[in-house]
């Protein structure tokens, strides 16, 4: 029986009000995502030991991640070994596109999960067996909120935003832009047809992440892609 008011709830919120709870208090003082961070740091150590650079690509659905990967694979062919980890809630459609582009790919279906995590990355690395010194491009699940919270052990985080999404995206999804090492503004071939201000968007991104780099590209026409390849080379 509850000692304060005499109701029959014995702790918790029974009886429609909260009760003092007797019992032993255990102090944990630990990070909520400690487990993910431990696995991520093991992934990071392993990748560093192999001289492999892994880049985590994040965006809202349809910003052009897979298209950018397809072109990158084609353009880097003969220059650098590339493999891809495809995160998708359902289907192997994107993985099939990458395969057709001539690249080793591992598909990770997250099901109801809205992001990749370090354990999935670990499993994917195991089945991919990437070559030392190679580049791994990770396409995260299309979602601008939580993928940034889950460290995979990657070298860098890249956010892709397309010009059809609106200039204010960095202010609406500040957590993602705050976590990014690079922002790629994609679909610049469409700039004449949409109301999108590249400079303002870059300014908004820097308001939550003052040091972030910003590149503009068109993954379909190839414009600006050399700046992206230069950035990748700088990660080594």
């Amino acid at each position: 029986m509850c000692g304060t008011c005499g109701c029959h709830a014995d702790g918790g919120t029974g009886g429609g009000h909260s009760h003092p709870v007797n019992g032993e208090t255990i102090t944990l003082e630990q990070r909520v995502l400690a487990k993910n961070e431990d696995v991520a740091s093991r992934n990071r150590d392993w990748l560093a030991g192999q001289g492999i650079v892994a880049v985590n690509l994040m965006s809202s659905p349809g910003a052009g991640k897979t298209t950018l990967l397809e072109r990158t694979i084609g353009d880097l062919a003969g220059r650098r070994a590339v493999s891809v980890i495809e995160g998708d809630q359902e289907t192997t459609l994107d993985a099939d596109r990458i395969k057709r582009a001539g690249c080793a790919v591992v598909q990770v279906n997250t099901g109801a999960g809205c992001h990749l995590d370090a354990e999935m990355m670990h499993t994917a690395l195991g089945s991919l067996s990437p070559a030392p010194g190679s580049l791994i491009l990770v396409e995260n699940v299309g979602n601008l909120v939580c993928p940034a919270m889950f460290d995979l052990g990657e070298r860098s985080k890249v956010v892709i935003i397309s010009v059809t999404e609106g200039t204010d995206k960095p202010l609406k999804y500040p957590y993602m832009f705050a976590a990014a090492d690079l922002v790629i503004i994609n679909k610049i071939d469409l700039l004449p047809y949409v109301d999108f201000d590249v400079d303002r968007c870059a300014e908004y991104a820097r308001s939550v992440n003052p040091k972030v780099r910003v590149l503009t590209v068109s993954a379909t026409t190839g414009e600006g892609m050399d700046d992206w390849y230069d950035w990748v080379a700088e990660q080594y």
């Binding site: 702790g11 709870v21 944990l28 003082e29 990070r31 995502l33 487990k35 500040p174 957590y175």
Partner: protein, 109 residues
Amino acid sequence: MHELSITQSVVDAVCERAAGRPVRVVTVRVGMLTAVVADAMRFCFDLVTAGTVAEGARLEIDQPAGAGHCRACDTEFTLADLILLCPCGSADVDITSGQELQIISMKVG
């Protein structure tokens, strides 16, 4: 909803530490500058604890407000969001509070 995986991580850690004892209260710290919504976490907590030793436990969420330190004028100020701008106009700001995502303690027995 990422609060589901976040809450699952909390409950996993708590149940592991409880080692079979019933868990009555779980206290977490979730800063106001994280992308975690406290109400969504409460909702998930009841779902995720069902059938575990933490079933029926109370979730207490401490939510520290955002704060920043400006390197230009060396003052501490409130950060309502992630826009890193000191009232003095400088953007050379470190976040000093609001990004916590920790399990603080639990009560068992």
